[in-house]
Symmetry: none
Subunit: 218 residues, 4 copies
DNA sequence: GATGAATGAGGGTTCATTCAT
DNA sequence: CATGAATGAACCCTCATTCAT
């Protein structure tokens, strides 16, 4: 079970309440969780392929092998499922970026690790890329834009680096953060569409060089 | 105009008044053009604010002050209007980028002029930015993605520069083109949402530095 | 100018009012009549090919080379044009059937002449057949069904023949009239769809034999 | 039913109650079938009275006492309902004609039985007559014209009779088939409009005599 | 919880008809 | 009278959502 699924399942049903359920209920719980899981998987597949608007709740339910009404036993409405998928994907990506944040000693190493984490995530979750970077304003209602959240990360790191002198402040950090995030999203989405377009190393290397070259003193 | 109709017209109106005819048609033509124009303006406004799917043809017609059926006197369907708006905006932007292409003697000057053209276009056509960079696949059916067209521009220029030795080939030109275009779109869209977020000079300077720093030998 | 056109034109503008118009007006009148005539021709062509419902008033006007509004300068609405065309065609057919009514001395000759007139009319006005026998209830508003009018003719003749002893009364005249008219319409429409399906003589001979064989003593 | 769903179902419901399952589904199925049935009945009534084009899907749904969207839970579109009604009626009529095909020993008896079957069908399904013989090309897209199918029947039988010497070939079989079918349709439709116009026996007798008299040796 | 028939608001689009020019 | 842009009622159809079973 990946981190994504964990976030979806385990955030809803806190682990520490499970022991309170009698063993007999566990089968029903598992069935319910399985249905929910299948709906999420179907949502991922269909949203990735066709986008939020082109996918009907009926299609998701049908793809998941359940009745159309079942959808609403698990999600308040269509956009909620979309949000949940998006949220889970963003959590997974954030988790991976967090993991590598302090790995490298130098700034250069951190940038490169970040690029690697990003590309690897995309390679493992190709379909999530379309959803994450689909620019759907329909994820609205809950949180801010996915890209804004990523920009926020970059902005925070950049400011820290400026404070430590690792980075100069000749580039506006806000603009830079937006630029980096736009670059990431576009390159990764372009590549996810057809992974034969570039190798992992080309991607990592190019992203790293752009980010380093353009944003730091030689 | 058939022979019969000609006889009707030309017997009543002496031939020497015919040169004036274009003038006479202009009244009706102007009215038609005005309606069309209002529909386009309404489309720009509403599409920019809500996106293609959230805007109904009724809303556009109402906003333009005409009956709902009138929409279809001017556009075959909703997506045709969207395409037309997108196409016009892209043409305008392309024109401006073309204009500055050969202005600067050095590569640095060209990059900076390009950034200036981009930012100025955004400043003058704020609402077009949302439409151009909305990632709507619905403009499909006619042409490729707007961003892909811009990427194609960058790719072409980059290759030319590699040929002339102005640029090195240590960065994959395809990836670079996608990165630049993603960066542009994101930064410009972010800024257009709230122009107080940065000054024109900050934008131009930051975009220029990223592009130069990361993509050319020191 | 055929009888059809005459009926259309001359029934609207009584002949005896024409002399009252100054010569100068004749040109305008001719133009108006020509426009009207072209609309009728376009109506015939399009109705025959696609049926009343599939043809728009715009299509008729466009086909006639006039503006769409012009249609309503000549006809109150779409069904009025359809009625007028139908009416003219029926008049022409009735005229021809009248012409041959008293030609033959014997009953057999009359039946054969009638079949010949019918087939010849169809051959000369193929497109009218589709309109006449299209079973459109939309010709409503003015008159009874085309086929009913033809049935009425047959009924009248049949009754006369029974009175003179030329025909027996062992067949119900009403049913017979409907049967004959249904037979005519179907055979003629079937043939008009593809005139290579049968020769004129086959049609005449077959229709005559059915009508004679079944309805008269040997 | 997937493995997961099975576990849910079979753990709760002992296997030996499963044979009862078809019964359980019948409640919902019956409701669905009832709705579908009401829509079909409404369609028959309204199509018969006004024709395909004059009847809206809303009207059918309203007449059936369901919401307008419900129509599309049962039929892909309006013409599909029309086709289904037409098809069912034609099947029923064909079935009846088949039943009597080989009843009579003589040709005369067969013709008479056929006429009886036709008239009895019309008497029992008056409203279907308008639909079957409405000459709607909109049932198109699926099959050929209803009348053509009936003509095909007659043509086949006629040819068989010519082979066995029961019928002469002095009448073109194709034309004859069209004539008979046109006669049937017209007479039956005329009668169905107002059944007091003739008695069953008058119809049967007249149709039989026309068909026999005109198409066979004395 | 699962089901799936029913709902009905709403959207895109058509087209007969009007009327100011 | 011809024009043709404008009108707007009406239609077909979709689909997110509900709810009785």
């Amino acid at each position: 079970m990946s981190v994504i699924d964990m976030s979806v399942t385990e955030l809803i049903i806190p682990t520490d309440t499970l022991p309170a359920q009698p063993e007999r209920e566990t089968a029903a719980d598992r069935a319910r969780a399985a249905t929910r899981s299948r709906l999420i998987e179907s949502g991922k597949t269909l949203f990735a392929e066709h986008g939020l608007h082109q996918v009907t709740t009926h299609a998701i339910a049908f793809h998941a092998g359940v009745a159309s009404g079942t959808f609403y036993n698990h999600f308040k409405d269509k956009s909620k499922l979309f949000c949940e998928i998006t949220h889970a994907a963003l959590s997974e990506l954030s988790y991976r970026l967090d993991e590598v944040r302090d790995l490298g000693a130098t700034h250069r190493e951190r940038i490169q690790s970040q690029a690697e984490a990003l590309v690897d995530f995309a390679a493992e979750h190709t379909e999530m890329i379309h959803i994450l970077f689909s620019h759907e304003p329909a994820a609205a209602g809950l949180e801010t834009d996915v890209l804004n959240q990523l920009a926020e990360r970059i902005l925070t790191e950049r400011r820290a680096e400026i404070d430590t002198g690792e980075a100069t402040d000749d580039l506006d950090p806000n603009i830079l953060a937006q630029a980096m995030v736009g670059m990431w999203a576009r390159v990764i989405a372009w590549w996810a569409e057809d992974p034969s377009r570039a190798t992992r190393d080309q991607l990592v290397s190019t992203l790293t060089k752009i980010q380093l070259g353009g944003t730091h003193p030689a």
